[in-house]
């Protein structure tokens, strides 16, 4: 049986445990979620799209001097280029995609995802301090005038301050953290090398795209 089909069928049979209002409940992923996850694995993570990303990355590193866009830009500015042709090369350089910029943007994505993991680690440390009512942590909140109101836990004080600083809604906050958690789950399992295979924006799509949120949330339940 084809690997994809094997995976698809087996995932459908798994019982997962989620939480709702801090109470555990069992659930299964149904057709759309399993399709989403199957596509994520077989298309985004190890499939054609991943291959295209790695191929582009490798090409840009193994053939750094063969970027027509950069060469056209150089030709535009070169003293050796006849003045009559400068505009020709100039417009071409602005029309062509830049291999080095593509490479750099991919690197930027990897950096962003890595920093998302670093953020999550710091965030979780602070969150645990709040949950444990750490005295030094409370002192920080008090020092900056982040006073408690009736019914607010230390964690709520911190989260309200945090969201206010960033301009996040509760939902945006939760989506980002869930996305970061999903990323963390993946890297815990496969190491940081998996970041090279992930599609651009894997650390920040969740806020904007419900379907993307879903597939990343699914990843949290994998391990």
């Amino acid at each position: 049986m084809e690997l994809r089909t094997q995976f698809y069928r087996r995932i459908q049979q798994i019982d997962f445990i989620g939480t709702k209002s801090n109470k555990p409940f069992r659930f299964q992923f149904h057709g759309p979620e399993v399709v989403e996850l199957t596509n994520f694995l077989f298309s985004d993570l190890i499939g054609r799209k991943a291959r295209a990303r790695i191929t582009a990355l490798l090409q840009s590193y193994t053939k750094p001097t063969s970027d027509p866009q950069e060469q056209a830009e150089t030709a535009e500015k070169s003293r050796d280029t006849p003045d009559e042709f400068r505009n020709l090369f100039g417009t071409l350089s602005r029309a062509l995609p830049s291999a080095s910029k593509n490479r750099d943007s991919h690197m930027t994505y990897i950096h962003q995802m890595y920093n998302t993991l670093a953020f999550l680690e710091d965030y979780n440390t602070r969150r645990m301090q709040a949950i444990n009512k750490d005295e030094s942590f409370i002192a920080i909140l008090d020092r900056y005038g982040l006073k408690a109101q009736a019914g607010w836990s230390v964690l709520v004080r911190f989260l309200k301050y945090f969201n206010q600083q960033i301009g996040w809604t509760k939902t945006e906050h939760r989506n980002f953290i869930q996305g970061a958690q999903a990323l963390s789950t993946l890297t815990d399992e496969f190491g940081h090398g998996i970041l090279v295979l992930l599609p651009p924006g894997s650390n920040r799509r969740y806020v904007f795209n419900v379907k993307q949120i879903q597939s990343r949330v699914i990843l949290m339940y994998l391990s």
Binding site: L3, R4, I14, N22, T62, K170, G193, I213
Partner: protein, 137 residues
Amino acid sequence: MERVYPIIHELFPWLKEFCTILDQYIVSPLLAQKPITIPPMVENDQISIQGSFQKAIELNNSRHEARQNIGEDQTLTLPPSPRVGHPNHDDEETNSEDSDHEHDDPNHEIEETNSEDSDHEHNDLIHEIEIDGYNEY
């Protein structure tokens, strides 16, 4: 209770080692702001395992199985991956040739039905699944 990652490891026994190589040759140097040096390996839209990337297979304990899954010795052809049927979700680069091929291959058609219900379930799930401690207020 069966879990998902073990299934992924079982189906793709080479993946973790491949990620280790990617980490070693791309991510770690990138984060350390060191130059990235990758041996030439791009041929005909396939990633050939040459030089250091050979390790992705050599390090694998079940090399035979890996080769079987991958297809060819010496060449890591990441599994061809037409998207299984998921309407309205082609958000990245597309390749019309591949797309045509996908339609020709019934084995690659895993389709969901009743998209309205599906979307509804989808959204509900988002709101129902919570992660401990992230919905504290």
